[in-house]
């Protein structure tokens, strides 16, 4: 499962974009892990994520924290999205101090994540996964500017047509940019959509399209 790995963008666009996951291991520490996952989520919540969710329940923009906590089981994988490097450093310090016991994974620019770990006194990354990009019939993909938004949901639940529609709605005065990004975030059940980055990307999209060329 690699849904937080293939986010598109350059260093400037990705340096403040982090997805933090808490994952128990089947056959090792999964049995009875629900309280540990709750503890992990509480520590994350205290540090101010911009989005969070559990893919089987939803994210904080389409459900509530109480529902997410209430639906938690031993197989729940929770995910919190952060838009700020300093919060990640503090989060890692807190997790080092009070280990929840489940595996913790952070998707982000590897150099930045490594720096955060060092500042938190955690040493080196344990295991790393690289994206080697998209291969095959890449001419079928939407524009790169659209992909930057849609790839924030690694399950591909944010359609490029919906991004076009939101741009059109904003241009016609039917929605604000913030409303449009909230609508996009609702489609990404896991809570991986970074609304702060989403708003920045959306502002860049607005001048690229004319209303009649959109969905």
């Amino acid at each position: 499962m690699t849904h937080s790995l293939h986010r598109r963008g350059n260093f400037e666009e990705l340096k403040d974009d982090f997805v933090v996951l808490g994952c128990p291991a089947t056959g090792i520490n999964k049995a009875g892990s629900s309280p540990k996952t709750q503890k992990f989520l509480s520590i994350c919540y205290k540090n101010g994520p911009i989005n969070l969710g559990d893919m089987k329940t939803g994210n904080i923009y389409n459900t509530t924290m109480d529902v997410i906590l209430g639906n938690m089981t031993d197989s729940t994988i929770v995910q919190c999205t952060f838009d700020n490097r300093e919060k990640i450093v503090q989060l890692l310090k807190d997790l080092k101090e009070d280990k929840p016991g489940i595996s913790v994974i952070i998707s982000g620019v590897s150099d930045v994540v490594q720096q955060c770990m060092e500042e938190a006194g955690l040493g080196r990354i344990h295991t790393i996964e690289y994206s080697l990009g998209t291969w095959g019939q890449t001419e079928r993909l939407p524009h790169f500017e659209i992909l930057k938004t849609t790839t924030m949901c690694g399950h591909a639940m944010i359609s490029s047509d919906l991004v076009y529609k939101m741009v059109r709605d904003v241009k016609r005065g039917r929605r604000t940019i913030e409303d449009a990004c909230l609508e996009l975030s609702k489609c990404c059940t896991c809570g991986n959509y970074n609304i702060t980055r989403g708003i920045k990307l959306f502002k860049e999209l607005i001048p690229l399209y004319m209303v009649h060329s959109l969905y």
Binding site: L14, A25, K56, S75, I77, I106, T127, L132, G133, H155
Partner: protein, 252 residues
């Protein structure tokens, strides 16, 4: 996913939510003169459920019919809310590197290679998934499939990567092949993928996983750089905080 023809008013509000694009057509109601409804192309729909979850239909016409084999593989792979019982993980893949700090799944000298077909936003038929799986398994690189991965479960021959015939024409939003091989076989694995990329009618993302040693260079980086293979600055990183920690190295 289907739209109830007696409820649907063809307002088109659900159209842009579909990750597979414009897969709906207008139909005339058989019994109500002048009434138009939309029909979702069942061949192209992957049962991901995003249109239903968006709660956008003003007359609640969208519904997910019960899925029977082999169509049910669409929902298993495409709807992130459905947990595949074989992997015990919601979503399309496995725990892979996420729990490597406690499982030791990817040891020193090994590299995880994952290929996710159909992503982002194109979708993939299992006949293309089979092409990639068979190319890797036939490549004599010792590629070891992840046993708990849903695609592995759909194989009729796990030694060749052959999928069951009845799933070949099914489609998923994306389907991921997961496995590992020795790190020295990575160049050959990537060469195989480069070749098969020309034979599939979709896109796929490629990812590689490696244990980071306590000191020194990350083992796959010089290999990728020597091959001239692009890799993203954005990575997924296991923090090593899981307990009990897997012992990768002998205690000194």
């Amino acid at each position: 996913m289907k739209a109830d023809q007696d409820k649907c008013i063809a307002c088109k509000r659900c159209f842009p939510y579909c990750p597979m694009g414009r897969i709906q057509i207008f139909k005339k109601h058989e019994n109500i003169p002048g009434r138009v409804y939309i029909e979702i192309d069942q061949e192209r729909c992957t049962d991901c459920g995003v249109c239903l979850r968006a709660n956008i239909c003003p007359v609640k016409a969208l519904f997910q019919p019960e899925m029977i084999w082999p169509r049910e593989v669409r929902g298993i792979l495409s709807n992130p809310l459905i947990e595949f019982k074989g992997s015990q993980v919601p979503g399309r893949g496995t725990e892979e590197m996420k729990t490597n700090d406690v499982s030791g799944r990817f040891g020193t000298g090994e590299v995880g290679v994952g290929i996710e077909l159909g992503r982002p936003g194109i979708g993939a038929y299992f006949k293309d998934v089979e092409k990639v799986a068979m190319a890797l398994m036939g490549g004599d690189i010792g590629y070891e499939l992840a046993a708990e991965n849903p695609v592995t479960h759909f194989m009729s021959d796990k030694t060749t990567g052959k999928l069951r015939d009845d799933v070949l024409n099914e489609k998923a939003t994306s389907a991921i092949i997961e496995g590992k091989c020795k790190i020295e076989k990575l160049p050959e694995a990537l060469k195989i993928l480069e070749k098969v990329a020309k034979a599939v009618d979709t896109v796929f993302t490629v990812e590689v996983i490696t244990k980071v040693p306590p000191e020194g260079e990350i083992p796959v980086k010089p290999i990728l750089e020597k091959l001239g293979v692009w890799y993203s600055i954005n990575t997924k990183n296991n923090m090593g905080l899981g307990e009990p920690a897997f012992k990768f190295y002998e205690d000194k």
